[in-house]
């Protein structure tokens, strides 16, 4: 958490993503045109969210095996930042969708009648809501150890639910996402070329490392707060 090489790497990769992402050549797809550059931003948000949730569930399992309180703190913070990236992915997707899938011939309020027919939108919303419920669950239990145990178990189920809702069901249904019919529900690999992949893979790493950096800061603040509080309490009881 205290080393800086991966933080510098994250910034370098993100600067590279912005520059190469906006200035590089991309294949011109129908209806998407230049907006396919969003691949480096919107899609990366979801990738980063999955990775952060994976790390979170690993720490939840480690907590259950060792009952070491700091793993519980780690699990919570990774889930929180994962939710943040998920919400950002949703918001950027909504904006992107309004310029590409929406029917330009209909008045504004009727443009999105296709919304309910996009299984990934609904699936991602459910998955995020399950993680919001994780946070609500944590706040509802007062006892620290009980809270950690219950929320660790819930985290495992919440993580497991990601897969049916985001990965499996959308592949079974027709989707507005490119390549949706019977193929990859997020992105048809035929639509990206090697130019894009050269920016896309470093971008995933860059955004994920940024998420990890933010999470480690939150973890350090949380642990510091706990230490300071117990330190103050000990001092007060000694007086």
């Amino acid at each position: 958490m205290y080393k800086s090489w991966w933080k510098i790497l994250s910034v370098a990769l993100l600067v590279y993503t912005v520059i190469a992402g906006l200035l590089g050549n991309v294949p011109q797809k129908p209806a998407l045109d230049e907006t396919i550059r969003n691949l480096y931003f919107h899609v990366c948000m979801w990738f980063a969210m999955m990775i952060l949730f994976t790390i979170s569930v690993i720490y939840s399992i480690r907590y259950l095996r060792t009952l070491d309180h700091k793993f519980d703190v780690y699990a919570r913070q990774f889930a929180v930042v994962g939710i943040l990236f998920g919400v950002l992915g949703y918001a950027t997707g909504a904006l992107w969708m309004s310029y590409t899938w929406a029917d330009p011939n209909k008045p504004f309020l009727e443009k999105f009648s296709g919304f309910a027919r996009e299984p990934k939108l609904v699936g991602a919303a459910i998955a995020l809501l399950i993680y919001f419920a994780y946070l609500v669950l944590r706040d509802s239990v007062n006892d620290i150890d009980k809270r950690a145990r219950i929320s660790a178990v819930y985290n495992i189920f919440a993580y497991a639910m990601l897969f049916p809702f985001i990965w499996i069901l959308p592949r079974l249904m027709e989707s507005l996402h490119p390549g949706g019919e019977g193929g990859n529900p997020a992105l048809d690999p035929r639509h990206t070329d090697s130019n894009m992949r050269m920016v896309f893979y470093p971008a995933i790493i860059g955004w994920t490392l940024l998420g990890v950096w933010i999470t480690t800061l939150k973890i350090r603040v949380s642990l510091l707060k706990e230490k300071m509080l117990t330190g103050d309490l000990l001092k007060k009881s000694a007086e």
Binding site: A12, V15, I19, E34, W213
Partner: protein, 72 residues
């Protein structure tokens, strides 16, 4: 080489590779690029990104200082 030098070298090489992107425009949606205004967008985004990064760095240092004070 130290790790930081390796990272810098990697970054420099990645940036150099973007020179290969200077090929002819692909379609009419290159308006932003042809009029040279895409660089404004790149600049704006970079300013925002670096501003946020500087904020994170400041936060990181503040927390490190607090941790050091508390643990000493």
């Amino acid at each position: 080489m130290r790790v930081l030098n390796k990272i810098t070298l990697l970054f420099a090489m990645l940036l150099v590779s973007t020179l290969s992107f200077a090929q002819e425009p692909a379609s009419s949606s290159d308006f932003m690029r042809q009029s040279g205004r895409i660089y404004v967008v790149v600049g704006v985004i970079l300013i925002i990104l670096l501003g946020l990064v500087l904020y994170l760095v400041r936060l990181d240092r503040k927390i490190s200082k607090l941790e050091k004070n508390h643990n000493s």
